[in-house]
Symmetry: C2
Subunit: 302 residues, 2 copies
């Protein structure tokens, strides 16, 4: 239960006042800017307007399968102005967090369950890694003799991995189980992954064998709604948290991310969460503001 009341941005006056309050907007992409390969109506105009007002735009996504460069290609394909430094995916955030927050030792390695989105970002930060595509070929027999502790592995980082297999689970488990100093990190903890109008197991589910076999939680989950991702963004861009607002379509990730990070939040109703959820008497996650769609800000453009 909460007594917070969400302000609905229904008039142009309210929309202008909202935009004047902030210098930086963190934007979720799917369900906010686009729906798969289609840009939502009015979003082109709204983003251009925010840039014309000198606002800092940052695109924040939990997807760990693509590097920032790969993500940028989608913006370009859809004709949306964006720059690689404005993109904050959970893969980049994980590499940034290891390097700049945890000060990960240069003589240690990260064991990766995840794809090139993660390894490209680790390499760009100069962090040594093993696993990932090198372990896509799984074990062919119950001979586990080559899966042994490795004191050089200082962290296991688990993200979405279409090529996850028993070898990867067994190695990651062995590094963590044998070495209490080995960090256990997840890029994000989404239990499902939306695709094809349905859902499939997400990163939080692919990490579950490790959580279950180790009988303990990860040391740190980087992505939304957790604070490490926001810590990275604030640190990198020197943001004033009082003048920063998270814009997203999911209460449990985007809006909770804003709340956890002590920044303002705006819910758009073009994705997962609906108006009735925040108006319910027992609503537990309530944004500061909400609006039907990000494109609705286009009405205030002169």
């Amino acid at each position: 239960m909460t007594t917070t009341i969400s302000i609905k941005l229904e008039t142009d006056v309210a929309r202008r006042e909202f935009i004047d309050k902030f210098d930086a907007f963190l934007l979720d992409c799917d369900g906010v800017i686009w729906e798969e390969e289609i840009v939502l109506p009015g979003v082109h105009e709204t983003l251009k307007y925010l840039r014309s007002k000198g606002k800092q735009l940052l695109f924040v996504t939990n997807n760990s399968t693509r590097s920032r460069d790969a993500y940028l290609a989608k913006f370009q394909r859809l004709g949306i102005e964006a720059y690689v430094d404005e993109i904050f995916g959970s893969a980049y955030a994980s590499a940034y967090y290891l390097k700049n927050v945890l000060d990960f030792p240069s003589d240690k390695k990260v064991y990766v369950i995840g794809e090139s989105g993660i390894t490209d970002e680790l390499a760009a930060e100069g962090i040594q890694y093993i696993g990932s595509a090198a372990d896509n070929e799984s074990l062919k027999s119950m001979d586990f003799s080559k899966i042994v502790p490795d004191p050089e592995v200082g962290a296991v980082l688990c993200g979405f991995d279409l090529y996850v297999n028993y070898l990867k689970f067994a190695k990651a488990f062995t590094y963590l189980h044998s070495n209490p100093n080995c960090l256990f990190l997840l890029t994000n903890n989404d239990t499902t992954y939306p695709a094809n109008g349905s859902i499939f197991p997400g990163t939080g589910s692919l990490a579950a064998p490790l959580v279950t076999a180790l009988n303990r939680k990860p040391h740190c989950v980087i992505g939304k709604p957790n604070k490490p991702m926001l810590d990275c963004i604030v640190k990198k861009f020197h943001l004033d948290v009082k003048r920063t607002c998270m814009i997203g379509d999911r209460l449990d990730t985007d809006i909770q991310f804003g709340i956890n990070g002590g920044i303002s939040s705006l819910l758009v109703l073009t994705g997962v969460s609906q108006e009735k959820e925040i108006l319910a008497n027992d609503a537990s996650i309530v944004p500061d503001y909400y609006i039907k769609s990000l494109g609705d800000f286009a009405t205030i453009i002169e």
Copy 2:
């Protein structure tokens, strides 16, 4: 806390009285009969003695990777008398349970995460299945369009699978998520698997992505310490539970299995659990009897 006191079988008189009390002994194998490929001292003699006294012997294991025939080969290799009908692995128990307890419809299929140990036993019981080795080749792209609900899949059965991959998780999740009548069964719930003097992720951990993505527990876990395995054994062999005793080396699986099933239990100290655990003031799982090793019964042989 419990007030149950375990009786230690230290004298020949106590050992003879113990054996006279029971008609049937359910035996765990690893840590009781053998240690990997070595038969523990005195076990050959003890098992022969029990047979000479007309006792029913049943070998009960949670390992689901081997069919009963494959398991029998190990007994033969180690020179231990055993018959295929005496072997109760969690793969066979799952097939038996589906057929004889759940009355699984002949026009429905089971989706299997697991190896030939499971599919051989399902085939032997005349149960249709898909998955398993047919899905060992995982997805090569994020195109999930071919992973669709299938109303003919009436159950997902998950056991140990060295070839587990994203395709298997995604299919199993889709069948369960799209169809509330689809049963979700595990052969067993051991979170770790002992091998090479270490431990690795076990069946309970490999099923964790489904449990996490679905956000619910399986309908039924067949293997020790759960009751379905004992229900199958009692049903098949018409055992008198009052004259049946479980013999094992693990308190949390074997002895709990005896307790859950309302039969007597004997702990041997040649495997995982130790004497101090049952003598502790806060012991929560206590066997009716315990003995240093199964081979110690050899002292009563005339």
